[in-house]
Amino acid sequence: MSQKKIVGVTACSAGIAHTYMAAESLEKAAEEKGYQVKIETQGSIGVENGLTDQEIEEADVVILAVEINIDMSRFNGKRVMRVRASEAIKNSNEVIENALNDATVYGEKGAKAGVAKMGNTKEGGFFQHIMAGISYMIPMVIASGLILAIANVYAFQRDEAGRIIEWGFDTSTAMGGLMSNLFEVGQVGFLLMIPLFAGFVANSIAGKPAIAAAMIGTYIANDAELLGGEAGGGFLAAILVAFAAGYLVNLLKKIPYPKLIQPIVPIMLIPFVSTLIITLLVFYGIGNPMASMMDFLYEGLTTLNENYAAAPVIVGVIIGAMVGFDLGGPLNKTALVFGTAVFTDTVAKYGIEGANFVPQTATQAAISVAPLGIWLASILFKNKFSPTEKVSANSAFGMGIVGVTEGAIPFGAQDPIRMIPAFVAGSAVAGGLAAGLGIKFYGGIGSPLGTFVGYIEQPIPFITWIFSVLMGVLVTALIIGFTKKKVE
């Protein structure tokens, strides 16, 4: 039998004591057993003794003695055993034996929760490119969304009873003129964000030479006037154009250019040729069909929302469930992309009154539910959380309260069978309630605080939003409380 190979990572919150004690302890125990061992330490000094992809690949098992979140994507498909650092110090022999015997493959089915982080999805995957684009777009979405929202508040002209009677700006007054301008500012932002998104998706696929083709192509695909049609192609067109541009540029890079012209290939030749090809393709090929398709889709969604009372609730529940299922993984991202896309596209097409807020509102309502649910459960059911889990739960709170779903990943990864259903149920409740109660999420952070840090229109100011999110949090917390085992 060949020599067993063990690799591992140790990390703790202070990064000076447990990290190294655990590493030393594991190394010593493994060497005594005659195994080959390499332990990476992620401490205050940074990463030391780093594992290479090849070492991870060749290892029989990966032992993670970590008390903080680390990047897990490297260990996809490997057998992974996660323990507390103190456990590795105390019982290193047992930890190693358990790992060799019982470690489960990371990234399989239910255990998928921890795989994907923002921009960290599987190298080169579809979602990695999409998320790269989204991460560059988000600041613009938020900035222009908030400015649009401020202007929009002013645009609702109310009667004496406070009912909204008309929408529009009275530009004869200075204030009205200012607000009208601010509204334009927001709309320009919404117009630019789609090409911006496409540019950075293409950048993620093929680097700088692809940006020009993707941005110009998307701008055209999204402009009804240029296309001579009814509507622009919106996000779907942006994704299509960005990928077309990205892969076209990757192809163009493969051509063996004569040495003489090589220096100008990435800055001139490829951008020129790809922009020419992509924009013509948009004009004469995909532009109009995409635009009609998007129009059809959004009109359908809006009709559905308006004509069937239950539709927003159902959409909200499904979107919420998707957000809670894999905590930043592909499903979560699909929901996020869908929500943002539907909102920005319908704003661009039908104006702010005609915009479809449902998917975006549901997404944002659900985003903080899993991490906050964990935290609440750790408060309500103290005896079911170990001290280390309580620390993780507190950090989940910190992340949840600013709208970062990923705070729940350590729990989802550790105990997917119990945690994922709890996350999904709570997130679906929050999404369904927010959508069903007619909340409109313009912009801000996806947590109960969103109603203060952001702009959310709702039947009862502040209360409706907080209520929707907290109900979801409560559901998640209770399910965790009833299913999680007591700590001995």
Binding site: G43, S44, I45, I89
Partner: protein, 151 residues
């Protein structure tokens, strides 16, 4: 190198301290007197917080209280020997007699931090731990640690 994070004046024998809390307070004020931390109170709070997250009680009567805090001016090691056994919720439930206290500044100073991490690793070495436990004078302890750090 070693002189910058540790010297013989940073070893102290104490006969008054009876509880973990007193021990941490003692370490903190000692660190302040040694000009390693700006505020004993802040360092004490940091140590307490770290203990709350996870106990630093190790085995065989050794503990390694530590924290990373902006009150820490420079990385340092203190070695405390307590005459009275101190309950420290250690891994083997044995009371603690010796504390390796680490002060970790925020930001990075790799060489010094690396020296501190060497001390953490050294505690896994049973021979080293036994030698430390059996050492009776500050001078002996100092030599042991110096040897370990210069390896």
């Amino acid at each position: 190198m070693i002189n910058e994070i540790f010297d013989i004046s940073q070893i102290e024998f104490n006969s008054d301290v009876k509880t973990k809390d007193e021990a941490l307070q003692f370490i903190a004020s000692f660190a302040e007197e040694a000009s390693v931390v700006k505020s004993a109170k802040a360092y004490y709070k940091g140590l307490k917080k770290r203990e709350k997250e996870v106990t630093t009680g190790f085995k065989d009567g050794i503990a390694i209280p530590h924290c990373k805090n902006k009150t820490v001016k420079k990385p340092a090691l203190f070695l405390m020997k307590f005459d009275q056994p101190i309950e420290w919720e250690s891994m083997d439930d044995k009371p603690v007699h010796i504390a390796f206290a680490l002060a970790i500044p925020e930001g990075k100073n790799d060489d010094h931090l690396r020296a501190l991490s060497t001390i953490s690793r050294a505690l896994i070495d049973e021979n080293f731990v036994n030698d430390i436990l059996n050492a009776s004078s500050k001078e002996q302890m100092y030599q042991l640690i110096k040897e370990k750090l210069s390896n």
